[in-house]
Amino acid sequence: MSQILHVTINGEQKEISIEPDELLLDVLRRVGYKGVKRGCKEGACGTCTIILNGYAVKSCIMLAAQAENGEITTIEGIGTRDNPHPIQQAFVDEGVVQCGFCIPGMILSAKNLLDKNPNPTEEEISFALDGNLCRCTGYSGQIKAVKAAAEAIRGEK
Protein backbone atom coordinates (compact mmCIF):
# COMPACT_ATOMS: atom_id res chain seq x y z
CA MET A 1 0.00 0.00 0.00
CA SER A 2 1.60 3.28 -1.10
CA GLN A 3 2.15 6.01 1.44
CA ILE A 4 3.35 9.59 1.32
CA LEU A 5 6.85 10.33 2.61
CA HIS A 6 7.15 13.83 4.08
CA VAL A 7 10.77 14.80 3.94
CA THR A 8 13.05 17.77 3.43
CA ILE A 9 15.75 17.14 0.84
CA ASN A 10 18.54 19.68 0.48
CA GLY A 11 16.30 22.30 2.10
CA GLU A 12 13.23 21.63 -0.07
CA GLN A 13 10.11 20.14 1.47
CA LYS A 14 8.88 17.13 -0.48
CA GLU A 15 5.92 14.78 -0.47
CA ILE A 16 6.89 11.61 -2.27
CA SER A 17 4.73 8.58 -2.92
CA ILE A 18 6.61 5.49 -1.75
CA GLU A 19 6.00 1.81 -1.17
CA PRO A 20 6.58 0.62 2.42
CA ASP A 21 9.29 -1.79 1.24
CA GLU A 22 11.20 0.71 -0.92
CA LEU A 23 14.77 1.49 0.00
CA LEU A 24 15.66 5.12 0.61
CA LEU A 25 18.41 4.82 -2.02
CA ASP A 26 15.92 3.74 -4.68
CA VAL A 27 13.46 6.50 -3.82
CA LEU A 28 16.11 9.22 -3.88
CA ARG A 29 17.38 8.08 -7.27
CA ARG A 30 13.82 7.70 -8.60
CA VAL A 31 13.02 11.33 -7.80
CA GLY A 32 16.22 12.61 -9.36
CA TYR A 33 19.00 12.57 -6.79
CA LYS A 34 21.34 10.50 -8.95
CA GLY A 35 24.37 11.64 -6.95
CA VAL A 36 23.31 8.99 -4.43
CA LYS A 37 25.08 6.02 -5.97
CA ARG A 38 24.01 2.39 -5.96
CA GLY A 39 27.06 0.29 -5.17
CA CYS A 40 27.01 -2.91 -3.13
CA LYS A 41 23.40 -2.46 -1.93
CA GLU A 42 24.24 -4.29 1.29
CA GLY A 43 25.68 -1.57 3.48
CA ALA A 44 29.32 -2.27 2.77
CA CYS A 45 30.75 0.23 0.26
CA GLY A 46 29.22 3.53 1.42
CA THR A 47 28.75 5.17 -1.96
CA CYS A 48 25.04 5.64 -1.17
CA THR A 49 25.86 7.66 1.97
CA ILE A 50 23.60 10.63 2.70
CA ILE A 51 23.13 12.81 5.76
CA LEU A 52 19.84 12.16 7.54
CA ASN A 53 18.92 14.31 10.54
CA GLY A 54 22.56 15.24 11.08
CA TYR A 55 24.07 11.78 10.73
CA ALA A 56 25.73 10.11 7.76
CA VAL A 57 23.87 6.90 6.95
CA LYS A 58 23.88 4.32 4.17
CA SER A 59 20.67 4.77 2.20
CA CYS A 60 20.88 1.30 0.63
CA ILE A 61 20.08 -0.49 3.87
CA MET A 62 17.32 1.68 5.19
CA LEU A 63 13.75 1.94 4.10
CA ALA A 64 12.50 5.25 2.74
CA ALA A 65 9.71 5.23 5.33
CA GLN A 66 12.33 5.50 8.08
CA ALA A 67 13.07 9.04 6.86
CA GLU A 68 9.53 10.32 7.55
CA ASN A 69 9.67 13.98 8.68
CA GLY A 70 13.43 13.84 8.30
CA GLU A 71 15.99 16.21 6.80
CA ILE A 72 18.19 14.76 4.10
CA THR A 73 21.32 16.17 2.51
CA THR A 74 22.61 14.60 -0.69
CA ILE A 75 25.66 15.56 -2.71
CA GLU A 76 23.41 17.75 -4.90
CA GLY A 77 22.68 19.90 -1.85
CA ILE A 78 26.15 20.97 -0.80
CA GLY A 79 27.74 22.63 -3.81
CA THR A 80 27.59 23.29 -7.53
CA ARG A 81 30.11 23.09 -10.36
CA ASP A 82 30.50 26.89 -10.20
CA ASN A 83 30.43 27.10 -6.46
CA PRO A 84 31.75 23.86 -4.97
CA HIS A 85 31.69 23.12 -1.27
CA PRO A 86 35.15 23.48 0.34
CA ILE A 87 35.36 19.70 0.72
CA GLN A 88 34.61 19.22 -2.98
CA GLN A 89 37.21 21.86 -3.86
CA ALA A 90 39.78 20.21 -1.60
CA PHE A 91 39.17 16.82 -3.25
CA VAL A 92 39.85 18.45 -6.63
CA ASP A 93 42.88 20.40 -5.43
CA GLU A 94 44.46 17.36 -3.80
CA GLY A 95 43.73 15.18 -6.84
CA VAL A 96 42.15 12.41 -4.84
CA VAL A 97 39.47 11.39 -7.33
CA GLN A 98 39.91 8.71 -9.97
CA CYS A 99 36.73 6.97 -11.09
CA GLY A 100 34.71 9.13 -8.70
CA PHE A 101 32.05 6.57 -7.83
CA CYS A 102 32.79 6.61 -4.10
CA ILE A 103 33.25 10.36 -3.88
CA PRO A 104 29.66 11.59 -3.19
CA GLY A 105 29.37 9.30 -0.18
CA MET A 106 32.86 10.09 1.01
CA ILE A 107 32.29 13.85 0.80
CA LEU A 108 29.06 13.56 2.75
CA SER A 109 30.80 11.49 5.44
CA ALA A 110 33.49 14.20 5.57
CA LYS A 111 30.86 16.94 5.78
CA ASN A 112 29.11 15.10 8.58
CA LEU A 113 32.41 15.06 10.48
CA LEU A 114 33.33 18.70 9.85
CA ASP A 115 29.83 19.93 10.75
CA LYS A 116 30.37 18.47 14.21
CA ASN A 117 34.13 18.77 14.55
CA PRO A 118 35.73 21.58 12.51
CA ASN A 119 39.27 20.70 13.58
CA PRO A 120 39.57 16.90 13.45
CA THR A 121 42.74 14.88 13.92
CA GLU A 122 43.89 12.49 11.20
CA GLU A 123 42.62 9.61 13.32
CA GLU A 124 39.18 11.23 13.62
CA ILE A 125 39.03 11.77 9.85
CA SER A 126 40.00 8.17 9.23
CA PHE A 127 37.32 7.01 11.71
CA ALA A 128 34.67 9.18 10.01
CA LEU A 129 35.54 7.83 6.54
CA ASP A 130 35.78 4.18 7.60
CA GLY A 131 32.44 3.36 5.96
CA ASN A 132 33.42 4.59 2.50
CA LEU A 133 35.44 2.26 0.32
CA CYS A 134 37.62 3.63 -2.49
CA ARG A 135 39.02 1.02 -4.86
CA CYS A 136 41.08 3.47 -6.96
CA THR A 137 43.20 5.75 -4.88
CA GLY A 138 43.56 4.49 -1.34
CA TYR A 139 42.77 6.83 1.49
CA SER A 140 45.77 8.96 2.45
CA GLY A 141 45.02 11.63 -0.16
CA GLN A 142 41.41 11.85 0.86
CA ILE A 143 42.33 12.24 4.51
CA LYS A 144 44.72 15.04 3.47
CA ALA A 145 41.90 16.65 1.46
CA VAL A 146 39.53 16.60 4.42
CA LYS A 147 42.23 18.26 6.56
CA ALA A 148 42.66 20.94 3.88
CA ALA A 149 38.89 21.44 3.68
CA ALA A 150 38.71 21.82 7.45
CA GLU A 151 41.36 24.54 7.28
CA ALA A 152 39.45 26.30 4.48
CA ILE A 153 36.18 26.13 6.41
CA ARG A 154 37.92 27.53 9.49
CA GLY A 155 39.20 30.37 7.31
CA GLU A 156 42.85 29.41 7.73
CA LYS A 157 43.53 28.85 4.04
Binding site: P20, V57, C60, M62, L63, A65, Q66
Partner: protein, 278 residues
Protein backbone atom coordinates in the same frame (compact mmCIF):
# COMPACT_ATOMS: atom_id res chain seq x y z
CA UNK B 1 11.76 -6.75 2.78
CA UNK B 2 9.81 -7.56 -0.32
CA UNK B 3 6.58 -8.41 1.47
CA UNK B 4 6.09 -5.33 3.64
CA UNK B 5 2.74 -3.67 2.98
CA UNK B 6 2.50 -1.31 5.96
CA UNK B 7 4.99 0.94 7.74
CA UNK B 8 3.49 2.50 10.87
CA UNK B 9 4.56 5.16 13.38
CA UNK B 10 3.03 4.56 16.82
CA UNK B 11 2.77 7.61 19.03
CA UNK B 12 3.53 5.74 22.25
CA UNK B 13 4.53 2.34 23.60
CA UNK B 14 1.02 1.07 24.21
CA UNK B 15 0.03 1.88 20.63
CA UNK B 16 3.12 0.04 19.40
CA UNK B 17 2.04 -3.08 21.29
CA UNK B 18 -1.52 -2.84 19.91
CA UNK B 19 -0.28 -2.43 16.34
CA UNK B 20 2.00 -5.43 16.77
CA UNK B 21 -0.68 -7.62 18.32
CA UNK B 22 -3.34 -6.97 15.68
CA UNK B 23 -1.26 -8.33 12.79
CA UNK B 24 0.33 -11.79 12.78
CA UNK B 25 3.24 -10.81 10.59
CA UNK B 26 4.46 -7.73 12.44
CA UNK B 27 7.99 -6.67 13.34
CA UNK B 28 9.46 -3.71 15.18
CA UNK B 29 12.02 -1.63 13.30
CA UNK B 30 14.65 0.77 14.65
CA UNK B 31 17.90 1.18 12.68
CA UNK B 32 16.70 -1.36 10.16
CA UNK B 33 20.18 -2.18 8.87
CA UNK B 34 19.44 -5.85 8.77
CA UNK B 35 15.73 -5.72 7.98
CA UNK B 36 16.23 -3.51 4.92
CA UNK B 37 18.80 -5.88 3.45
CA UNK B 38 16.75 -8.98 4.25
CA UNK B 39 15.19 -10.51 1.16
CA UNK B 40 13.76 -13.65 2.78
CA UNK B 41 11.29 -12.32 5.27
CA UNK B 42 7.56 -12.67 5.65
CA UNK B 43 7.03 -9.49 7.65
CA UNK B 44 4.07 -7.50 6.34
CA UNK B 45 3.74 -4.77 8.97
CA UNK B 46 6.67 -2.76 10.27
CA UNK B 47 6.29 -0.69 13.43
CA UNK B 48 8.79 2.13 13.83
CA UNK B 49 9.92 2.41 17.46
CA UNK B 50 12.50 5.18 16.96
CA UNK B 51 10.11 8.00 17.90
CA UNK B 52 9.08 6.71 21.33
CA UNK B 53 11.85 8.24 23.44
CA UNK B 54 13.57 4.90 23.96
CA UNK B 55 17.07 6.23 23.32
CA UNK B 56 17.92 7.77 26.69
CA UNK B 57 21.23 7.02 28.39
CA UNK B 58 20.98 7.45 32.17
CA UNK B 59 23.66 7.08 34.82
CA UNK B 60 22.75 6.25 38.42
CA UNK B 61 22.81 3.69 41.25
CA UNK B 62 25.97 1.98 40.06
CA UNK B 63 24.59 1.25 36.63
CA UNK B 64 24.14 2.94 33.28
CA UNK B 65 20.78 2.39 31.60
CA UNK B 66 20.77 2.59 27.83
CA UNK B 67 17.51 2.81 25.87
CA UNK B 68 16.99 0.23 23.15
CA UNK B 69 16.91 2.70 20.27
CA UNK B 70 20.12 4.51 21.26
CA UNK B 71 22.41 4.20 18.26
CA UNK B 72 25.94 2.88 18.58
CA UNK B 73 27.18 6.40 17.75
CA UNK B 74 25.06 7.89 20.54
CA UNK B 75 26.51 5.30 22.89
CA UNK B 76 30.08 5.84 21.69
CA UNK B 77 29.75 9.63 22.15
CA UNK B 78 28.11 9.42 25.56
CA UNK B 79 30.23 10.28 28.63
CA UNK B 80 28.06 7.88 30.64
CA UNK B 81 29.08 4.95 28.43
CA UNK B 82 32.78 5.74 29.05
CA UNK B 83 32.16 5.03 32.73
CA UNK B 84 31.11 1.41 32.15
CA UNK B 85 33.74 -1.24 32.75
CA UNK B 86 36.68 1.17 32.55
CA UNK B 87 35.68 2.09 29.01
CA UNK B 88 35.15 -1.45 27.69
CA UNK B 89 31.62 -0.69 26.48
CA UNK B 90 32.85 2.38 24.60
CA UNK B 91 35.59 0.29 22.99
CA UNK B 92 33.03 -2.30 21.88
CA UNK B 93 30.95 0.49 20.31
CA UNK B 94 34.03 1.85 18.53
CA UNK B 95 34.74 -1.51 16.91
CA UNK B 96 31.23 -2.15 15.60
CA UNK B 97 30.88 -1.84 11.82
CA UNK B 98 31.69 1.64 10.43
CA UNK B 99 30.59 5.23 11.02
CA UNK B 100 27.45 5.40 8.81
CA UNK B 101 26.35 2.01 10.12
CA UNK B 102 27.04 2.98 13.74
CA UNK B 103 24.81 5.99 13.09
CA UNK B 104 21.95 3.60 12.29
CA UNK B 105 22.53 0.42 14.31
CA UNK B 106 20.81 0.48 17.70
CA UNK B 107 21.56 -1.29 20.95
CA UNK B 108 18.25 -3.15 20.81
CA UNK B 109 18.77 -4.25 17.23
CA UNK B 110 22.23 -5.52 18.09
CA UNK B 111 20.91 -7.89 20.75
CA UNK B 112 17.38 -8.79 19.69
CA UNK B 113 18.26 -11.26 16.96
CA UNK B 114 21.14 -13.57 17.69
CA UNK B 115 23.40 -12.95 14.75
CA UNK B 116 26.85 -14.20 15.66
CA UNK B 117 28.68 -11.31 14.00
CA UNK B 118 27.20 -8.48 16.06
CA UNK B 119 29.48 -6.80 18.56
CA UNK B 120 27.67 -6.11 21.82
CA UNK B 121 26.43 -9.47 23.18
CA UNK B 122 29.83 -10.59 24.54
CA UNK B 123 30.27 -7.39 26.51
CA UNK B 124 26.73 -7.66 27.90
CA UNK B 125 27.75 -11.12 29.08
CA UNK B 126 31.02 -10.11 30.75
CA UNK B 127 29.36 -7.12 32.43
CA UNK B 128 26.39 -9.18 33.72
CA UNK B 129 24.05 -6.68 32.07
CA UNK B 130 20.30 -7.01 32.31
CA UNK B 131 17.90 -6.66 29.40
CA UNK B 132 14.58 -4.99 30.19
CA UNK B 133 11.79 -6.35 28.01
CA UNK B 134 8.11 -5.54 27.62
CA UNK B 135 5.76 -8.25 26.41
CA UNK B 136 2.60 -7.77 24.37
CA UNK B 137 0.52 -7.42 27.56
CA UNK B 138 2.63 -4.44 28.63
CA UNK B 139 4.38 -6.43 31.39
CA UNK B 140 8.02 -5.55 32.02
CA UNK B 141 10.68 -8.03 33.04
CA UNK B 142 14.42 -7.86 33.64
CA UNK B 143 16.35 -10.71 32.07
CA UNK B 144 20.04 -11.40 32.81
CA UNK B 145 21.99 -11.13 29.55
CA UNK B 146 23.22 -14.72 29.91
CA UNK B 147 19.59 -15.96 30.00
CA UNK B 148 18.55 -13.62 27.19
CA UNK B 149 21.17 -15.04 24.81
CA UNK B 150 20.85 -18.64 26.02
CA UNK B 151 17.08 -18.50 25.47
CA UNK B 152 17.37 -17.32 21.87
CA UNK B 153 16.90 -13.55 22.23
CA UNK B 154 13.52 -11.86 22.10
CA UNK B 155 10.35 -13.89 21.82
CA UNK B 156 7.64 -12.97 19.36
CA UNK B 157 6.08 -9.66 20.36
CA UNK B 158 8.65 -8.86 23.03
CA UNK B 159 10.08 -5.38 22.83
CA UNK B 160 13.48 -4.54 24.32
CA UNK B 161 13.17 -1.28 26.26
CA UNK B 162 16.65 -0.85 27.68
CA UNK B 163 19.78 -2.54 28.91
CA UNK B 164 21.16 -1.98 32.41
CA UNK B 165 24.95 -2.08 32.50
CA UNK B 166 26.63 -2.36 35.91
CA UNK B 167 29.49 0.16 36.02
CA UNK B 168 31.79 -2.43 37.60
CA UNK B 169 34.97 -0.39 37.39
CA UNK B 170 36.72 -2.38 40.12
CA UNK B 171 37.11 -5.25 37.64
CA UNK B 172 39.61 -5.66 34.81
CA UNK B 173 37.91 -5.58 31.39
CA UNK B 174 39.08 -6.34 27.89
CA UNK B 175 37.36 -6.60 24.49
CA UNK B 176 38.74 -7.56 21.08
CA UNK B 177 37.29 -7.99 17.62
CA UNK B 178 39.36 -9.66 14.90
CA UNK B 179 38.43 -8.82 11.32
CA UNK B 180 40.36 -8.35 8.09
CA UNK B 181 39.28 -4.72 7.71
CA UNK B 182 37.50 -2.24 9.98
CA UNK B 183 34.13 -2.72 8.37
CA UNK B 184 34.38 -6.43 7.60
CA UNK B 185 32.48 -9.11 9.47
CA UNK B 186 34.32 -10.24 12.57
CA UNK B 187 36.10 -13.60 12.62
CA UNK B 188 36.13 -13.67 16.40
CA UNK B 189 34.79 -11.33 19.07
CA UNK B 190 35.92 -11.92 22.63
CA UNK B 191 35.38 -10.13 25.95
CA UNK B 192 37.05 -10.89 29.25
CA UNK B 193 36.51 -9.51 32.74
CA UNK B 194 38.14 -10.44 36.02
CA UNK B 195 37.89 -9.41 39.65
CA UNK B 196 41.25 -9.43 41.39
CA UNK B 197 41.72 -9.28 45.15
CA UNK B 198 45.01 -9.65 47.02
CA UNK B 199 46.78 -10.77 43.87
CA UNK B 200 44.29 -13.54 43.08
CA UNK B 201 41.45 -13.83 40.58
CA UNK B 202 38.28 -14.08 42.64
CA UNK B 203 35.73 -13.96 39.81
CA UNK B 204 35.86 -14.02 36.01
CA UNK B 205 33.78 -13.72 32.88
CA UNK B 206 34.84 -14.82 29.40
CA UNK B 207 32.52 -14.61 26.39
CA UNK B 208 32.99 -15.25 22.68
CA UNK B 209 30.92 -14.90 19.54
CA UNK B 210 31.09 -15.48 15.79
CA UNK B 211 33.02 -18.74 16.27
CA UNK B 212 29.85 -19.86 18.02
CA UNK B 213 26.69 -18.12 19.23
CA UNK B 214 27.42 -15.48 21.88
CA UNK B 215 28.16 -17.47 24.98
CA UNK B 216 30.10 -17.47 28.24
CA UNK B 217 32.86 -20.04 28.57
CA UNK B 218 32.18 -21.06 32.14
CA UNK B 219 34.77 -23.86 32.26
CA UNK B 220 37.52 -21.31 31.58
CA UNK B 221 36.00 -18.84 34.05
CA UNK B 222 36.04 -21.51 36.76
CA UNK B 223 39.62 -22.47 35.91
CA UNK B 224 40.65 -18.82 36.27
CA UNK B 225 39.15 -18.36 39.73
CA UNK B 226 41.74 -18.76 42.46
CA UNK B 227 44.76 -18.31 40.19
CA UNK B 228 47.49 -15.96 41.38
CA UNK B 229 47.99 -13.11 38.95
CA UNK B 230 51.76 -13.53 39.02
CA UNK B 231 51.57 -17.26 38.26
CA UNK B 232 48.64 -17.82 35.94
CA UNK B 233 48.85 -21.26 34.36
CA UNK B 234 48.19 -20.11 30.81
CA UNK B 235 48.94 -23.44 29.13
CA UNK B 236 46.38 -25.38 31.13
CA UNK B 237 43.87 -22.56 30.64
CA UNK B 238 44.40 -22.85 26.89
CA UNK B 239 43.64 -26.57 27.04
CA UNK B 240 40.37 -25.82 28.85
CA UNK B 241 39.63 -23.02 26.39
CA UNK B 242 40.10 -25.26 23.34
CA UNK B 243 37.81 -27.94 24.68
CA UNK B 244 35.10 -25.50 25.78
CA UNK B 245 34.13 -24.15 22.34
CA UNK B 246 32.58 -26.07 19.48
CA UNK B 247 33.65 -23.78 16.62
CA UNK B 248 31.05 -23.44 13.87
CA UNK B 249 31.84 -23.63 10.15
CA UNK B 250 32.78 -20.47 8.26
CA UNK B 251 33.49 -20.72 4.54
CA UNK B 252 36.10 -17.96 4.76
CA UNK B 253 38.34 -19.36 7.44
CA UNK B 254 39.15 -22.76 8.89
CA UNK B 255 38.29 -23.93 12.38
CA UNK B 256 42.00 -24.53 13.08
CA UNK B 257 42.84 -20.92 12.25
CA UNK B 258 40.13 -19.60 14.54
CA UNK B 259 41.11 -22.00 17.35
CA UNK B 260 44.65 -20.63 17.14
CA UNK B 261 43.28 -17.07 16.99
CA UNK B 262 41.15 -17.66 20.09
CA UNK B 263 44.20 -18.86 22.02
CA UNK B 264 46.32 -15.90 20.92
CA UNK B 265 43.72 -13.26 21.80
CA UNK B 266 42.99 -14.93 25.14
CA UNK B 267 46.72 -15.07 26.01
CA UNK B 268 47.07 -11.37 25.18
CA UNK B 269 44.16 -10.58 27.46
CA UNK B 270 45.77 -12.53 30.29
CA UNK B 271 49.04 -10.65 29.74
CA UNK B 272 47.15 -7.36 29.84
CA UNK B 273 45.43 -8.43 33.06
CA UNK B 274 48.83 -9.23 34.60
CA UNK B 275 50.30 -5.90 33.50
CA UNK B 276 47.36 -3.84 34.73
CA UNK B 277 46.96 -5.55 38.10
CA UNK B 278 50.63 -5.83 39.14
Amino acid sequence: MKNVTEYLYPSDLSQALILYAEHEESAYIAGGTHLAAESRNNTKRLIDITRLGLNEIIDGNGEVQVGATATITEMYSSPEISKVGNGVLKKACQLIADTPLRNAITLGGNISRLYTWVGLPVVLLTLDAEVEIMNLHGERKRVPAADHFANGGVKDGDLILKVRFPVRNAWFHSYEKFSLTTADYTWLTIAFAAEVKDGKITDARLAVSRITKATRLKAVENALIGQEIANIDVESLLTVLESSVDIVKDFRVSKEYRRQLLGVLFKRMIQKLQEETK
